[in-house]
């Protein structure tokens, strides 16, 4: 393949799934620097009561953009990156089903990011209505400047990117598996992406519809969400959460897939209860569509709806529990090697269980009503999305970096990174449970003095997280320049796990397999 363009032209024109995977991951890392810095500004403002680091307008802009960037430009693209790189590899295919469409999915993210970050520089600044964009606050009447329009259009573009990507993943997984790879021989990362792509395909168009309604309400004065026109602000909440609750699973399922590869690999065992995990993943996917209104328990919805959604929210805990117990049984009796990837995977279990149980308490409506829109929810969602998704992603980074780059990340430095992030995460977010219970509302730029102590603790925790993040960047930079070379199977996973990613060179050749493997 000597006619392949080199350098920047190569990266701009590539349709190779591995290149696009890397593009997604690098973009996500770059965005994480911004999303993380926004969080730093918020924590700086909250490091004492009545500070004036940010004015209220800027605080609300960074607050809204922290959530938006982390969800739509960090976690989802990072999972898409690993998915792009490893799903074809793991099913024994040479590329995704539609390589050009794949490139389009990626390149849609860039203008979307341009709209989001560009909105800081227009008059009135970025959107200030939170990542949830509740109307009427996000309507033209109360957010008249272009920030919200750019936010809506940006989300439209990433939404389109996700939908096209989901179609690509589904077709790849359904049609391009190597001979002999039945559905129940697919590695769990493929399974989780299979369910994930289905969720994206069903949920994201609903977000697109809601965004379009919000946009026409703003631009043309249609009244979808305006009571004076017969519309209803609660309609936005229903539609938004109909997407955004499944989106939580979209953000965590592939991470569970990654962890399901790492735990057995470093325990020298096979995954426990493979089929149980597959069924649990599918069950979470289905039930995930029936819990959205638990975000609306205080909104004044019909009491019967509260009862139904409370029940379904409890039900979804059952398949989640099945997974956690299966992971524990996987490491049970194993010979555990504590690589950094394994530490992040074990840290994932420890933190995700916390997030899962605190999520379960939110199904208890009377309690949920007390802590809804308080720091308890901030704590819960960060245990799920940071403790869950991000820890799993970091596990994936240490696990698969050698495969992608041909070099092994520095494990000693990685160990320091793990402990900084694991401790920093807990110091930042554990106290927030308590702050919420005693009455600190979320999304406030200042607070009453009685909440100061635990806010100071949380802001201190951020410093550890920041240091961990910076060291991770340094580790990658250093390793790419002169890291230890990786063998085809640097973790010794292949003999027992038989996943195809470890059967090819590191990095794999263009088109992965000279001869498509047969699975026995």
């Amino acid at each position: 393949m000597s006619d392949r363009p080199k350098g920047i032209v190569h990266w701009l024109t590539t349709t190779d799934h591995k290149d696009i995977g890397i593009l997604y991951l690098v973009t996500s890392l770059f965005m994480a620097v911004f999303g993380g810095s926004f969080a730093g500004l918020l924590r700086a403002q909250l490091s004492a009561a009545n500070l004036k680091v940010l004015n209220p307008d800027l605080y609300n802009q960074f607050l809204s953009m922290h959530g938006t960037v982390m969800i739509f430009f960090v976690i989802i693209p990072a999972l898409a990156g690993f998915g792009n790189y490893f799903v074809p590899l793991l099913v024994g295919a040479r590329d995704m089903a539609f390589p050009k469409l794949n490139a389009l999915s990626y390149w849609l993210v860039i203008p979307a990011a341009g709209l989001m970050f560009g909105s800081f520089f227009v008059q009135g600044g970025a959107a200030q209505a939170g990542w949830t964009g509740y109307v009427p606050l996000a309507s033209r009447q109360f957010s008249g400047t272009a920030g919200v329009d750019m936010w809506i259009l940006g989300l439209h573009l990433v939404g389109l990117s996700s939908i096209l990507g989901a179609i690509n993943f589904l077709v790849t997984i359904i049609n391009m598996r190597a001979p002999g790879m039945g559905y129940f021989k697919m590695p769990l990362f493929v399974w989780t992406w299979f369910v994930n792509a289905t969720l994206i395909l069903f949920a994201t168009p609903v977000l697109a519809g809601a965004l379009t309604m919000a946009l026409t309400d703003r631009a043309f004065g249609t009244g979808f969400f305006r009571p004076s026109e017969g519309g209803d602000p609660l309609l936005w909440q229903h539609l938004f959460w109909f997407y955004s609750h499944p989106a939580v699973y979209i953000m965590v399922l592939p991470g569970m897939g990654i962890v399901s590869h790492i735990l057995p690999a470093f325990s020298s065992k096979k995954i426990f209860g493979y089929k149980g995990i597959v069924y649990a993943t599918a069950a979470i996917g289905v039930i995930g569509f029936m819990v959205w209104a638990h975000h609306m328990f205080t909104s004044g919805i019909d009491p019967r709806l509260r009862a139904f959604f409370a029940f379904m929210t409890m039900v979804i805990a059952v398949p989640t529990g099945v997974k956690i117990f299966s992971w524990l049984a996987t490491i049970w009796g194993g010979q555990i090697r504590f690589s950094v990837a394994m530490k992040f995977a074990l840290g994932f279990i420890a933190l995700f269980v916390m997030g899962g149980i605190s999520g379960l308490t939110l199904a208890v409506v009377p309690f949920d009503v007390q802590v809804h829109d308080s720091y308890y929810v901030v704590a819960h969602l960060h245990y799920v999305l940071f403790g869950g998704s991000v820890m799993a992603l970091l596990a994936g980074v240490f696990f698969w970096f050698p495969k992608m780059s041909g070099r092994i990340l520095d494990e000693k430095l990685g160990n320091v990174i793990f402990w900084l992030i694991f401790l920093g995460m807990n110091i930042t977010f554990l106290p927030m449970h308590w702050l919420g219970i005693v009455g600190m509302a979320r999304r406030i730029y200042t607070y009453r003095p009685e909440f100061e102590f635990w806010n100071q603790v949380a802001s201190f925790g951020y410093i550890l997280l920041f240091a961990g993040g910076m060291l991770l960047l340094y580790n990658m930079f250093k390793t790419l320049r002169k890291g230890e070379r990786a063998a085809d199977d640097p973790w010794g996973a292949y003999p027992l796990q038989r996943t195809l990613d470890w059967s090819v060179s590191s990095p794999p050749p263009v088109e992965n397999f000279a001869k498509i493997p047969e699975i026995v």
Binding site: P56, D57, N60, Q128, A129, Y134, P136, L137, F142, S228, D232, K269, K270, I271, F272, G273, T298, S299, G300, P303, A307, V315, A317, V318, V322, F325, L328, T330, W332, G333, Q335, I336, I349, A350, V353, M354, I357, L360, T361, V364, V365, P366, F367, V369, Q370, H372, D373, S374, P431, V438, G439, A441, R443, I444, Y445, T446, P449, E450, E452, F453
Partner: protein, 234 residues
């Protein structure tokens, strides 16, 4: 975990909330329901974390060590599906009872209309023809107060942690909540739904007084601001 926090980090002023110092029967019911749920859920949290930590120390790789080879156990898998499911079903019963208590108030002694504005609260007492804004809501102790909430602009949420009440105030719709505070005093809260620039400053102040003081207060309010006859009856 929760009690661990309780010992530290309090400033000079005690924070009133439904957990450490619930005010009135509703807040106490909510707390009991919370304790019951925690008693049901926390064992699963502890079990998972303890098993995880135990496995980490117990199954550390040793030179020449052999990993176990089991990778399924149907009985175990059924067990860890059924036991959590049953636990949740049991938790649902008192939860539904408490939800009913929140949704169906006892006979109302006083109706107050609560109206959210960017960035203050307006209160109307239709029975007395009293209305005012940007000052403390005043209610009699030991009485059932029912609230009719709405908003003139964006979504707000009326939250007083000590009473166990949080209810969104939406434009174009009236929502309901109730509470009963037994002890006179001042109770603090704040808007719980992001409502714009000064959301953080949209405080709620409730003064609970004896019924006699309440009657006196109503008279004073009427003297200062006589009813103008345009007040809506909710």
């Amino acid at each position: 975990m929760l009690l661990g926090f309780a010992a530290f980090g309090w400033a000079d002023e005690p924070i009133t909330n439904w957990l450490t110092n619930p005010e009135g029967p509703l807040a106490r019911t909510i707390r009991s329901n919370f304790y019951f749920s925690m008693a049901a859920f926390l064992p699963f949290l502890l079990l998972s974390e303890v098993l995880l930590v135990y496995a980490i120390f117990r199954f550390k790789a040793k030179p020449g060590g052999q990993a176990a080879t089991f990778h399924e156990n149907l009985r175990l898998e059924i067990l860890w599906t059924v036991i959590p499911a049953l636990t949740l079903a049991i938790t649902a019963i008192p939860t539904y009872k408490t939800m009913r208590a929140m949704e169906v108030p006892p006979k109302s002694d006083l109706v107050v209309a609560v109206i959210g504005h960017q960035f203050f609260w307006e209160y109307r007492y239709p029975k007395y023809g009293v209305q005012f804004a940007e000052e403390a809501m005043v209610v009699p102790a030991g009485k059932v107060i029912t609230l009719n909430l709405s908003s003139v602009d964006v979504v707000h949420s009326w939250w007083v942690p000590a009473f166990g009440v949080k209810q969104d105030a939406n434009p174009g719709r009236i929502t309901h909540a109730w509470f009963q505070a037994d002890n006179p005093g001042r109770y603090k809260g704040q808007c719980a739904e992001l409502c714009g620039k000064l959301h953080a400053k949209m405080y709620i102040d409730v003064r609970v007084v004896t019924p006699e003081e309440f009657e006196q207060w109503i008279l004073e309010k009427k003297g200062i601001a006589p009813p103008d006859g345009t007040m809506e009856n909710q």
